[in-house]
Amino acid sequence: MNGFLIVLIPALPLAAFLINGLFGRWLGRLGGWIAVACMGGSAAISIPLFIRAMWGGFTPFNVTLWRWMSNGAIDITIGFRVDQLTCLMLLYVTCVSFMVFLYSMGYMAGDPGFNRFFSFLGLFDFSMLVLVLGDSLPVVFIGWEGVGLCSYLLIGYYMDLPGAPDAGKKAFIVNRIGDFGFLVGMMMLFAALGTLDIQKIILAAEQGAAGVGPLAYGGAFVTVVTLALFLGCTGKSAQIPLFTWLPDAMAGPTPVSALIHAATMVTAGVYLVVRMSGLFVLAPATMTVIAGVAAATAFVAGSIALTQQDIKKVLAYSTVSQLGFMFLACGVGAFGAGIFHVFTHSFFKACLFLGAGSVIHAAHAQDLDHLGGLRKYMPVTAWTFCIACASIAGLPLLAGFVSKDEILWSVFASGAPGSMLLWIIAVITALMTAVYSFRAYFMTFEGTGRLSHDKQHHAHESPWTMTVPLVLLAFGAIVAGALNLPGVFGEGTWRGVNNLLEPVLEPARKVAEAHAHEMHSPSLELALMALSGVIAIAGVALAYRYTLAKWPEGARRLAKRFRLLYKISLYRWWWDDFYMKYVAGGTWGLAKLATWFDRWVIDGIMHGIAGAASLGSRFIRALQNGQAQAYVLIFLLGANIVIGLIIWFK
């Protein structure tokens, strides 16, 4: 695999962006097909790359593109790093993107901004692939900012829709807070190490593990750096406290929700933590924070998803909750399990979103109360949605089951502080996952149709461009788990992803082995696995009972009985209100204070400087009287000063 092909992977979506952005007006639908072809090309390069990494002889390599600047202290090269983790990320990012591109051909057909949409999608994929491929933090940061920008542009895509531009703005502002953390972490690392090359940072971290250098194990510096980086991750990956932007981001077109806000961009935070795992494990305090934040996020978001009415909102909170699972795995040191969940999640969550999009496309409604009974109109969508729900709910042997169980066991066995509590939260969240996902399925596709008459009349199965990606993704949601079978089935079990990522995660593993005490008990693991299977089935049964069997009285009675809990969930823990009232309000107060400070102190200084500059400027203008003899006079004066200086210093 040579460098040229690697460069092509991000270059093809960039070409799609340029072609659609510059010539879209004349290309029309053809532009969309070109974008699909470009993305297909990227996927066609990534798949053999992954196969080589998984089964063939593969050694990680760097592709240095160019030296950006070199000036003594500053030496930044732009380059890509292709290792096992990159291969895995490339595989799913390009494949899911390809399917979303294809799906958008149907979904966005006839939209006035068709080519604008595809150009943004191309730019997004370019940025995402740069993020994944970057060999140094600045390159990753370029991708990081790029995906943020595209996310902002695409959330606000329906510019005339009420709320869409605001949602875009919200996403942008909240992400800024996170990016600030990323930048701080990056600068601190640069100040301490003099480099931002990821491999060199990990090398320094390995020294730090041995207690050498600025990155000593458990030191304050490494703790602050990792916390700052994690703040960046909470912004991009929608974790507490910065998760509120993601549900609002559903204002964007549904393929965007599937691609950016479920499968790829939001997992960038997890990717960063895994990429820097060698650094993160050096700060046990940070790891505890990550695990705690992640468990809380998973639980809170899962509980909110239980009562949401908008099908996309359910899926959005579900995404936040699943991201919590991924971070939880990272927080207890099971980075492989985290990234594996990223991988499987991308299939079933993309499938769910695209299915929801198919429903919205057909029924022009997204409120669960107004849907129902759609299976007979759109069987393909219904079945794929059902499979994806089963997968995310963790029904045994499906992809979601395998990856989630891996996380649950890792948490249970990690021996990290408070791991029992974390495990209990995670199990409850897993139960809620099964409930809310099947609630969404039952209320959309089963039971009596609640669509208005003329809408029901129009309900139909979507075109092939939309159903083919659904089927492919559903297939992925079933079998993706096979890439990493649970280790409990004996020594010989094939644990593909774990083996694959072994070299990348080695520095982290070494540290973990030195400091943590992991539990090994195959029988217990099997028992817990059975338990999580039972929980999933119980969740499905609960959902069935209250959304189909006893609908709607049962559900109402339940809501009444647990009124407080119901309200907490329905009003999303008043998180947004809290932000509006106290954070935004507090910001407002702070802004007033800042205004005062600005007006009297900063402005005072600035006016002082400006006044001095302006006075000086007037003086200079006065000298500039327009007479050539005066100019020559000053010229001679200057010359005399120069000569005087030379004689003076003789």
Binding site: W66, R67, W68, M69, N71, G72, A73, I74, I609, A610, A613, S614, G616, S617, R618, I620, R621, L623, Q624, G626, A628, Q629, A630, Y631, V632, I634, F635, L636, L637, G638, A639, I641, V642, I643, L645, I646, I647, W648, F649, K650
Partner: protein
């Protein structure tokens, strides 16, 4: 002398200077075409000139970047890495100006043939000045460049401001030439009759130490006075605001960019010759230091209240000359940093040329209203969005905001100051840049926030060549920031 060697050297010299000769030929052809062609064919003149510059570019890059300095005409001219890059920048500038000129000249009383021919002569003189590596050649090329500009600045004969600009440039220029010549004489005397830089360098570091150090220092001081005129260093800058405001806009663009590129290249060679010499650190160094500080302060402070864009750019160019001098001040005492200084200067001359040309290109595309007070730019963001955006980009780059060439250029320069241990140069430079934000942004704010005056009309449409040139320059502001290796490898 061996005749074979002699004639081989002559041929070699001619080859090395072939880009200059191509320009010379093109200029003569333009002049001949002007008098021989029917009057209706005048539209062909910019094409002939442009082809000439393109041919020169082709010949220059055909030679490639020289690995080691190559001398021509017994050491009178030199082609090294810096001059190669400077030549490229100068030729690029010439192409750009030829592209924006026809539309600007429309309806003005300017003799076209002379205008284009002189532009080519000016480009040739700039290249020659940059390549000078012998004191007499230096003086000749210095004067050659000055004389072309005396004429070019006053070429709009019926415009009193234009003639005034030419005249003022002439008065101050001849004063400066006197100082330069005096400086040359002192260096010549101090080194007992050496004029080639190589020979002077050898004499300076000769163990026997026959050089008169005081006299040499005085010579260097007078040389910087002379160059201070050419590259508008304060306090030798006084002519600049008037000349920039009154002169024909494309000519002023050449004066602001190409002349400085040539001046800095020549000055770099002079400094490289003297760097590390024992007499340098005290006197000459103090003079350089003082001139740099004054330039940064006077340029930035002076620009704050300027009501005219071209006048504002005059002060801005003084300030940028101050920044660009930083590496030279640093290497005077630390010859070890010569390579880094060369890099920094090479990059900044490109960056500065790009953004300044972009600004002047927009001004010329808005002529004649745009050449007036800044207030006339009000509301341009809506009236002429492309031009307003390009101007805003130029301003942002001149401030030094990433990811533009201006930012990376400044990073190199101030980085040099810190590396050389001159924190104060960096501090004053950065403070001066902060002051510069006020006046650069004033232009942007006027364009986008201010309401246009009653009855302000939409400015005339741009020509195709103008759009192409300005758009390309705007793209380059980004391209060379992200891919600097496209420029200096």
């Amino acid at each position: 002398m061996d005749p074979k060697l002699f004639y081989a050297q002559v041929v070699q010299s001619l080859l090395l200077t072939s880009p200059l000769l191509v320009l010379l030929g093109a200029a003569i052809i333009v002049l001949a075409a002007d008098v021989l062609m029917p009057r209706g064919w005048r539209g062909a003149l910019p094409w002939i000139s442009g082809l000439g510059v393109a041919a020169a570019l082709f010949v220059l890059n055909g030679m490639g970047m020289p690995a080691a300095p190559q001398h021509a005409f017994s050491g009178a001219l030199v082609l090294d890495r810096l001059t190669f890059l400077a030549d490229n920048v100068i030729l690029g500038m010439a192409l750009y100006l030829i592209a924006i000129s026809p539309r600007w000249l429309r309806g003005r009383l300017v003799p076209h043939g002379e205008y284009y021919a002189l532009l080519l002569f000016a480009a040739m003189a700039m290249m020659a000045l940059g390549r000078s590596s012998e004191l007499l050649a230096l003086f000749l090329n210095f004067e050659l460049l000055s004389i072309t500009f005396y004429v070019l600045l006053g070429i709009e004969k019926r415009n009193a401001r234009s003639t005034e600009a030419g005249f003022k440039y002439f008065i101050v220029g001849s004063t400066a030439a006197a100082f330069l010549l005096m400086g040359i004489v002192f260096v010549y005397g101090a080194t007992h009759g050496q004029t080639r830089y190589e020979a002077i360098l050898k004499a300076l570091f000769d163990a026997k130490g026959a050089v008169q150090p005081d006299m040499f220092a005085l010579g260097m001081g007078l040389l910087i006075v002379g160059f201070g005129f050419k590259i508008t260093l304060a306090p030798f800058h006084m002519y600049a605001p008037d000349v920039y405001e009154g002169g024909p806009t494309p000519v002023v663009a050449a004066l602001a960019t190409g002349t400085k590129v040539a001046g800095f290249t020549a000055l770099y060679h002079l400094v490289a010759m003297a760097a590390g010499f024992k007499a340098i650190p005290a006197g000459v160094w103090a003079a350089f230091y003082a001139v740099v500080m004054t330039s940064m302060i006077v340029g930035n402070v002076g620009a704050v209240v300027q009501p005219n864009v071209k006048r504002l750019l005059a002060y801005s160019s003084i300030a940028h000359s101050g920044y660009m001098m930083i590496p030279l001040v640093v290497v005077l005492a630390k010859p070890g940093l010569l390579g880094a200084a060369e890099d920094a200067i090479a990059y900044y001359m490109l960056a500065y040329t790009l953004m300044t040309l972009l600004a002047f290109g927009v001004i010329s595309a808005l002529a004649p209203e745009g050449e007036g007070p800044i207030a006339s730019w009000a509301g341009l963001g809506r009236r002429a969005p492309l031009r307003a955006a390009c101007m805003a980009l130029a301003m942002i780059s001149l401030i030094g905001i990433p990811p533009t060439v201006g930012f990376f250029g400044k990073l190199y320069l101030f980085g040099m100051a810190i590396e050389g241990g001159h924190i104060w140069l960096a501090v004053v430079g950065i403070l001066a840049s902060v002051v510069s934000v006020t006046y650069y942004l004033r232009v942007v704010i006027t364009m986008y926030m201010a309401e246009p005056a009653e009855g302000a009309e939409k400015p005339g449409v741009m020509g195709d060549a103008q759009i192409l040139a300005v758009g390309l320059a705007a793209a380059c502001v980004f391209v060379f920031a992200i891919f600097p290796w496209l420029y200096h490898g």
